[in-house]
């Protein structure tokens, strides 16, 4: 890995910045059982990326619009109480992928950049992407500071959250929106199909090791950063996308921790 190469520096910086929202919001995604939503909201940006390619608009903008639309539809379907949240996510994901595939195969001639955004690329990370990720990292920290008590109380026992004086509906909408935005900034580096490797896997791994929220959040940020740096090295060495490299590393670490904690005689320490 050539640390002097600007694309490596950008990739490393991107991964380190991405670790902040991945760890902070990722902890809530895991605790609030939104892992499937986090995966789906990234993958569902596919039709947006196809249209952006055809119309020559910024892919991030199109992906953001698609992801926020996905989050709004998810919220509306869940609120109707006629569909379980994960069923709503599955339904919307299938719809988004179907639209994207029809557009890409029959309607629009897509360029190579769509492939890049589906699977992520180290070389493709532009200075603007890094700036956007920095802004989203800062936004995630503010969102978490403002809403973590509401997310905690609501996730712990939704029926009594309002009686505690918090406003669960607004906070939950913002959690979905925040997840959508982080998924969009993650797709430059890791690809739309693999945003879960940064949004879900590090937090899920640390979750196996701790029963404390603070440790979970700090640990998830740290692990996401370490795995991100290792993924840049692996991707560069093997000339593969950063997303698949991160998926291999994150998946391996999760498997190791899962086996180690399963073999440990005692339960999770308090």
């Amino acid at each position: 890995m050539d640390l002097a190469a600007p694309y490596i520096q950008r990739a490393l910086l991107e991964m380190l910045l991405l670790a902040v929202p991945a760890g902070v919001l990722g902890s809530w995604i895991v605790l609030r059982r939104l892992a499937f939503f986090a995966h789906a909201v990234g993958s569902a940006s596919f039709p947006g990326l196809v249209l952006a390619s055809a119309w020559g608009i910024a892919p991030q903008l199109a992906a953001l619009a698609t992801a926020l639309g996905f989050g709004a539809a998810q919220e509306a379907l869940t609120r109707s109480r006629r569909l379980a949240p994960d069923a709503a996510t599955g339904l919307l994901l299938v719809a988004a992928l179907a639209i994207g595939i029809v557009l890409a195969s029959d309607v629009i001639e897509v360029g190579a950049e769509v492939d890049t955004l589906l699977f992520g690329s180290l070389i493709g990370i532009a200075p603007l992407d890094v700036c956007l990720t920095a802004a989203v990292a800062a936004g995630a920290l503010v969102l978490d500071a403002a809403l973590r008590r509401t997310w905690l109380a609501t996730g712990f026992e939704p029926g009594s959250a309002r009686a505690l004086g918090v406003k669960p509906e607004r906070a939950d909408r913002l959690l979905l929106a925040g997840t959508a935005v982080v998924a969009v900034v993650a797709l430059d580096a890791v690809g739309a199909l693999l945003v879960a490797v940064v949004l879900v896997v590090p937090a899920a791994t640390v979750r196996l090791l701790t029963a404390r929220l603070r440790t979970l959040r700090l640990g998830a940020v740290g692990l996401a950063a370490a795995e991100g740096v290792a993924a840049v090295w692996l991707a560069d060495a093997l000339d593969v996308g950063a997303g698949p490299a991160l998926a291999v590393i994150g998946g391996s670490v999760f498997a190791l921790v899962a086996v180690a904690t399963a073999l440990r005689p005692q339960a999770v320490p308090a």
């Binding site: 905690l152 712990f156 309002r162 004086g165 701790t210 029963a211 308090a270």
Partner: protein
Amino acid sequence: MSAAVRVSGLSGGYARGADALRDVEFAAGPGQILGVLGPNGGGKTTLFRALLGELPVRRGDIALPGRPAYVPQTERARLDFPVSALDVALMGAYARTPWYRRVARADREHAAAALGRVGLADHAGATFGTLSGGQRQRVLIARALVQDAEVLLLDEPLSGVDGVSAARIEAVFAELRAEGRTLLVATHDVRQAAEWDRVLCLHRRQIEYGAPAAVLSPETLRETYGGELIVLPGGARAVGVGHHAH
């Protein structure tokens, strides 16, 4: 005596056109414990939702001295959440903590003291999900104590708890009554409700309200519970209401 909780002519429900609960009318004063009796689905939790302002109310009025504290049934809380008993108790201070501040030191002390009151001072650092059912119920009561509300709504706090927890919970009830707070306690235990100040019988509507001695007649209980098995006050006689008495 001025009423702390006054409900008059209350009807409401979630579904359009269908009342989950109707014709509820009662008033409870400071320092009173009000037992809320009724079968599952009879409207006990629905009444609490109405008092919390979460039930669409179609008719009637509710007067309360501020936001009541609510103690949910313990099995509704997630056991896999990474929170300690103290973390849960601290949730009682969320309403008075601005988002940009940490929970105040006074509230942290208040939360620790509340855990002490329910007999769990030694378990403050224990993960909520590792506690026994009775201990979890006491943690949720400690959370309500931290809220420092005039009115407390407790949803079956004594169902399925161990003897030590039940004794401690009833001792806390007595303290809260002495402090002049009003407790509404949903329960299935008629004998227990007979020891409290007022009893409200619900079966999707108000069947009866008043002092236990006046309200807890076999006729009222039959109307309240239908065919469910209950225990009559004044003895260990189990009565299958709707069938014949043994």
